[in-house]
């Protein structure tokens, strides 16, 4: 127990110290925390519930657009901003920037969560590969649609509000976003850690293992499936809003509804780390990000070949992931033991 507390404290201290220890990698590590959030929330569906989704990226893009639209829209006319070169005419004051950011982030969480609740009833009634393909269709359609909406810049995309120059340099900017990302990651992790100990976590696992049985035992599975999706959509939406602000530019298919990058990454990371576990997606995301950043330069131009090969290798040879492999190897460390001591049959029901 104490060991665990020390581990958590050490990780927390590390997270806080990063901007001072590795000032050059602040942005990279901020993105890593975002990836951890994506991987953790994908695992709510893909790992804990057994509903493999390609659609969570939709909430990411939605959050990104919503956050920036609110940030801009509550102070300036959005359509003029997104028209070519419009962002140069309007400048946020620092107060406006932080007010807008705060409101934007809140709505970036709430609106995707509402969307998940509304479409969840229809879509979570699909099972297995039908669900997977349906969410894939939704995610791609969302990107294509966003690319056609003039108000948010259509195919050209839009810029998110730039950092107000008069309050500090870009170092301060990246520190600010770093800590917001870190807080988001910690909150996601702690929320899920708690949620998995409640009825929610057990029901999700029951749905994964045998949904028909769960229904036969009187569980209203749809309620839990939707709740799970709403939780994912909320955190993914906020992550999207943050990401849009950090990179400063929103493009419908490449950054927002980025099925080919983040949409695939979240699946690979969760599987690599071990789906259906709490720490698996975290480990998977960190390992994947380090691999990606470390080796991407070697694969210059070949990134997607490497990514495709990585997916195939992970899926075929390593489908249980790092945590699954550890569990296979040391089942007793995971509490799988035969208890030799017997217990006298006592029946005192009712």
């Amino acid at each position: 127990m104490n060991q665990k507390a020390i581990l958590y404290l050490a990780l927390l201290a590390f997270g806080i110290a990063v901007p001072f220890m590795f000032p050059a990698y602040k942005l990279q590590i901020s993105i890593m925390w975002i990836l951890v959030v994506l991987s953790l929330t994908w695992d709510v569906q893909g790992g804990q519930m057994g509903y493999n989704t390609f659609g969570n990226i939709m909430f990411f893009g939605l959050g990104m657009y919503i956050c920036s639209s609110f940030q801009i829209g509550i102070f300036f006319p959005l359509a003029e901003w997104t028209a070519s070169g419009g962002e140069k005419t309007f400048i946020h004051t620092p107060t406006q920037f932080f007010q807008g950011f705060f409101i934007g982030i809140i709505f970036a969480g709430i609106i995707p969560a509402l969307v998940a609740a509304i479409i969840g009833y229809g879509i979570l009634g699909l099972r297995g590969h039908y669900f997977a393909i349906c969410t894939l269709g939704l995610a791609i359609a969302a990107g294509e649609l966003a690319g056609g909406i003039e108000l948010v810049g259509a195919g050209q995309g839009m810029t998110s509000p730039p950092w107000p120059k008069n309050i500090g340099d870009t170092e301060l900017r990246s520190e600010f976003f770093y800590y917001i990302c870190f807080v988001l990651m910690i909150s996601t992790f702690l929320f899920l850690r708690w949620a998995y100990t409640t009825r929610f976590g057990l029901v999700l696992n029951a749905i994964r293992d045998n949904e028909d049985k769960a229904e036969a035992m009187g569980i209203n599975t749809m309620r839990y499936k939707i709740s799970g999706w709403v939780v994912s959509a909320f955190f993914v939406g906020i992550a999207g809003g943050l990401m849009g602000n950090m990179i400063g530019y929103i493009e419908p298919v490449e950054t927002a509804f980025a099925g080919r990058t983040f949409g695939v990454f979240m699946v690979v990371m969760a599987i690599l780390g071990g789906k259906g576990t709490l720490w698996g997606p975290v480990i998977g995301a960190i390992a994947f990000h380090i691999f990606k950043e470390g080796f991407w330069t070697f694969f210059l131009g070949w990134q997607y070949v490497a990514l495709g090969a990585l997916i195939v290798i992970v899926v075929i040879f390593f489908p249980e992931g790092i945590m699954g492999w550890l569990r296979e190897k040391y089942p007793d460390r995971f509490g799988e033991v035969i208890d030799e001591e017997d217990r006298k049959a006592q029946v005192e029901l009712k």
Binding site: N52, G122, I123, G125, L126, R127, G128, H129, Y130, A132, I133, C134, L136, G137, L138, I140, A141, E144, L145, G147, G148, G155, R260, V264, V267, I271, G301, W302, Q303, Y304, V305, L307, G308, A309, L310, I311, V312, V315, I316, P319
Partner: protein, 297 residues
């Protein structure tokens, strides 16, 4: 309604003819999808990439000076071996496993193939000119490129050839037996490994034919494979596995839908329309089945 297509009714004829010709091509790809899904129980997300790759073979012939229409002979032969090698490398390891494993593994193949094609053929939109001319109908109101007619006829011929092959040949019978019950087929001496490899090869060959037809009638681009996958998936779930007339009909229906949606929503929303139609069909069937307390299996 101020949509152009409702003001000029002849455009409906144009859209319908275009849609049907296009749909026949979709049906050919969907036939391959149904074949591998039914026999091997895998869903191949890389189906569209196989089509595009087949198309690039025809395009390559066009570039070096051979008429691209010969692609319908060359492309399937090459693609058969591509499919066969893919099976031996990757697919044989996902056949007996969860469907999502095959979805994800082929998704990986699809990403990988896209970039390889990008290297080999560049990221520009290309077309292989067939110079077949056009046919005019209704007093020059409706134009049909002859290449599209050629594509439809070739697709139908290949589909018929394949049906005959499946009925008559020894391998065809083995494939059908394996589709019905792989264990029984294995016990009765069918080499299922060989059957699977052949099935995947035949599927890739079909994609090769379809791809080379797309090369001469439409356009090629390394990243447009996924819509073809989704279209064939959609056709198969509407028609059901092993229902060939159904596949042909729903393929044509989808083609007509797309042409009409082009006129109504605009071409920039074509892909969105296709993907939303998929979502709509799945959700509609889910609610229809849930009234019987069942779900899509």
């Amino acid at each position: 309604m101020d949509f152009l297509i409702f003001q000029i009714p002849i455009l409906m004829v144009q859209a319908s003819i275009d849609g049907i010709l296009l749909g026949i091509l979709f049906a050919l790809i969907a036939y391959g999808m149904a074949l591998q899904w039914g026999v091997m129980n895998i869903i191949n997300i890389a189906q569209g990439e196989l089509v595009i790759l087949g198309g690039y073979i025809a395009y390559f012939m066009y570039v070096i000076g051979i008429h691209p229409a010969f692609g319908i002979i060359v492309s399937p032969i090459i693609m058969y071996f591509v499919g066969w090698s893919l099976y031996k490398l990757v697919i044989n390891r996902v056949v007996d496993r969860d469907l999502f494993i095959s979805i994800l593994a082929t998704f990986g193949i699809s990403i990988l193939t896209q970039q390889l094609m990008n290297f080999a053929f560049g990221s520009d939109v290309v077309i292989a000119q067939s110079n077949f001319g056009t046919t005019m109908l209704f007093n020059y109101m409706v134009t049909i490129p002859n290449s599209k007619l050629f594509a439809a006829v070739v697709s139908i011929i290949f589909a018929i050839l394949l049906v005959l092959y499946m009925r008559r040949s020894k391998l065809g019978r083995a494939i059908r037996a394996t589709a019905q019950n792989p264990r029984a087929a294995k016990i009765l001496g069918v080499d299922t490994e060989k059957v699977y490899a052949a099935t995947f090869g035949i599927n890739a060959a079909l994609c090769g034919v379809a791809g080379s037809l797309i090369a001469i009638t439409f356009t090629l681009h390394p990243y447009v494979g996924l819509p073809y996958t989704v279209r064939s998936f959609m056709i198969v779930i509407i028609a059901g596995l092993g229902n060939l007339p159904g596949v042909a009909l729903s393929g044509m229906g989808l083609g007509v839908f797309e042409e009409f949606s082009d006129y109504i929503f605009g071409t920039e929303f074509r892909i969105a329309a296709v993907f939303l139609l998929l979502v709509f069909i799945l959700v509609y069937r889910r609610f229809k089945l849930s009234r019987k307390r069942e779900y899509l299996k």
